[in-house]
Amino acid sequence: MSFDPERSNFAPTLRSRRTWARIGRWLFIAATVVALAALMMMLYNVATSTVGLVAVEYEREPSTLVEQPLEEVSKEELVALLQANISAGLFRRLEHDQPFATRSRETVYDLVIEHVVAETIVRSWPLDKSLVDRAAIEAEIAADYPTARVRFHAWLQPQFLTRSMSSNPEQAGVRTALLGSLWMVLITMLLAFPIGVGSAIYLEEYASDTLLNSILQSNINNLAGIPSIIYGMLGLAIFVRTLEPYTSGAAFGVLDGNGRTILSASLTMALLILPIIIVSAQEAIRAVPQSIRLASYGLGATRWQTTWYQVLPVAMPGILTGTILAMSRAIGETAPLIVVGASTFIVSDPTGPFSKFTVLPIQIYQWTSRPQAEFRHLAATAIVVLLVLLLTLNATAVLVRQRLGRLP
């Protein structure tokens, strides 16, 4: 309503302005809802692929082998089953790889499934479809694969973490990739943490030459904006190629290797996350009250003593928080490692810095790129593992900030 409509210099536009205001408000809310829905859709899309119906065909029906369900058969009986149903040559070879006496029931069971039952997944569905369209799925399978059986299969299961890579999707796991990721992150952090914190200390506590300081500072800001794949190319040219004698381990007596090792990957990744660590450590150091430094100097401490005994302990929670976030960046980064040469198919676990390696995101990339649906399920499952890992790290960062941050 208007207070003096008849004698006003102002057009009565309030009603339409109000309408626009309402439309605008709903547009902003809609943008937020759409954005969140898209991101949630992504998580849903991953989650629904980690379990679901599969159609399997057997060479030998498990029920024709033993009375009880195969899952309940003891290890000794499984070994017997294996011996009875596969060629003697294959049995000897398996025994030679690792004696059956030392194998776990789990691995023997896997061997029975692989060689005797010879289960193959002919088709698979995500969970949402499995629940909604079960009847249609069974009809489809009955028509296309009369001998196949439809059952639920959890791609996400504890063994997924402990099995190594396999070309059979049901037997495949992420142990090799997970170990590769851990090795890489460990070495990366050993390199990047001291150097990053050292740089931050220099920039905040020592650098007085303002020109040098500002060149360093703007250079660090620039580095943070360079695409990660370019770091990969730097790593390829310097660490993999030029420094090959060292990164392959040849200089240290490791013979059969090239430069595409965990060490090269870690060096590359360390350079990539260095700017993140430096910037966050700088912020943490800058937040330390000046009075603490003055008090320390007042007692006759040197610059380094002040930094080491007074400044760093106070800044540490902030530094650690930033470091953990940099660590999660390193764990999730894929592109530079492709360039540096992570192996896409590798079954042996990494044993040290000079091993060939694969990492979790590379494994996900590789599985995603395979056309068969089963590998998409594996990719989704590996994504869940990766996201849980990252979420744990993020939660740790929040905890560190809250717990340690409260100390004086």
Partner: protein, 308 residues
């Protein structure tokens, strides 16, 4: 102990502290490593690019003008790859800018405090999801969705539309979060002034707050563009594996980053023209992103409104 046990001049004399110097030297080395990294990038990209353009099969003018990239028959025109990069980036920004700004304005001008305090960290966590996950989403969700909407004949399995759309979703949290920071930095007194003149919330946010935060928002958008140009995994997975010059977003086309990743991921022999060519692409990429980052920083520093 009496004071005169110490000759005062001796106690106060400057002492040499080799430990302190050693430490300071080490710290300086740490700081210089970042300069070394930049130099390394420039030297490596420059050297290999030099070798690439020195090859008789390659000319700079062909690189900059030709629309054919077929190393097997000696054609090295950057346009198919650059075009795909620009297409995915454009599509991504068409998604990320309106949605990101919408989210930012909602968060800073409309959302209740507890909604804001929940959504902002959520966005930041989502912004930290590895891009390979977004790539998976593009291939297994967005592409089938596009195929259902526009038909399987029109939409190829690998296409720049799907990659671009998902890249937009990936960049959205970044733009939303940085823009929201810029909007928040606009002093409350400006909003009050607008309301006191009889402005509606929409008029206040779009005509007063948004223009006042424009430098920060532009910087956020440019940073988003730079991120989109350098993004590798989404396009590697979903956009296609083979250079092709097309303006149809539903056809497969390989971007610069996608090409670098595919070529270097295979068995690559050093000192071949293939090996050198990816460094020329890397140089192109570096020049693009470096300039964008520079522009973004200049905007922030030059056009920042100073409210005392």
């Amino acid at each position: 102990m009496g004071v005169d046990n110490f000759p005062p001049m001796l106690v106060l004399r400057r002492r040499s502290r080799p430990g302190e110097w050693l430490i300071q030297g080490f710290l300086l080395l740490c700081a210089l490593l970042s300069i070394l990294t930049t130099l390394g990038i420039v030297v490596v990209l420059g050297r290999e690019s030099w070798l690439f353009f020195g090859d008789e099969a390659v000319t700079l003018s062909e690189f900059l003008t030709s629309t054919t990239w077929q190393p097997a028959i000696g054609h090295f025109g950057v346009w198919p790859l650059l075009n795909a990069t620009l297409m995915t980036t454009t599509i991504a920004m068409l998604v990320a800018i309106p949605l990101g700004l919408g989210v930012a304005i909602y968060l800073s001008e409309y959302a209740a405090p507890h909604v804001h305090d929940f959504l902002k960290p959520t966005l930041e966590v989502l912004a930290g999801i590895p891009t390979v996950v977004y790539g998976y989403f593009a291939l297994t969700f967005m592409t089938p969705l596009l195929q259902n909407l526009f038909g399987r004949e029109t939409v190829e399995i690998y296409n720049t539309a799907s990659a671009g759309l998902v890249m937009g979703i990936m960049i959205l949290p970044l733009i939303a979060s940085l823009s929201e920071d810029a909007l928040r930095a606009v002093p409350r007194s400006l909003r009050e002034a607008a309301y006191a003149l009889g402005a509606t919330p929409l008029e206040t946010s779009t005509q007063v707050v948004l223009p006042a935060a424009l430098s920060g928002i532009s910087a956020a958008i440019i940073l988003g563009i730079s991120r989109a140009i350098g993004e590798t995994m989404i396009v590697s997975i979903a956009a296609g594996a083979g250079p092709s010059f097309t303006l149809n977003p539903f056809e497969a086309a390989e971007t610069m980053t996608g090409h670098i990743a595919r070529i270097s991921g295979g068995d690559l022999s050093y000192n071949t023209i293939d090996y050198n060519s990816i460094f020329a692409l890397g140089m192109t990429l570096f020049i693009f992103t470096f300039s964008l980052n520079l522009i973004s920083r200049i905007i922030v520093e030059r056009f920042r409104e100073v409210y005392e």
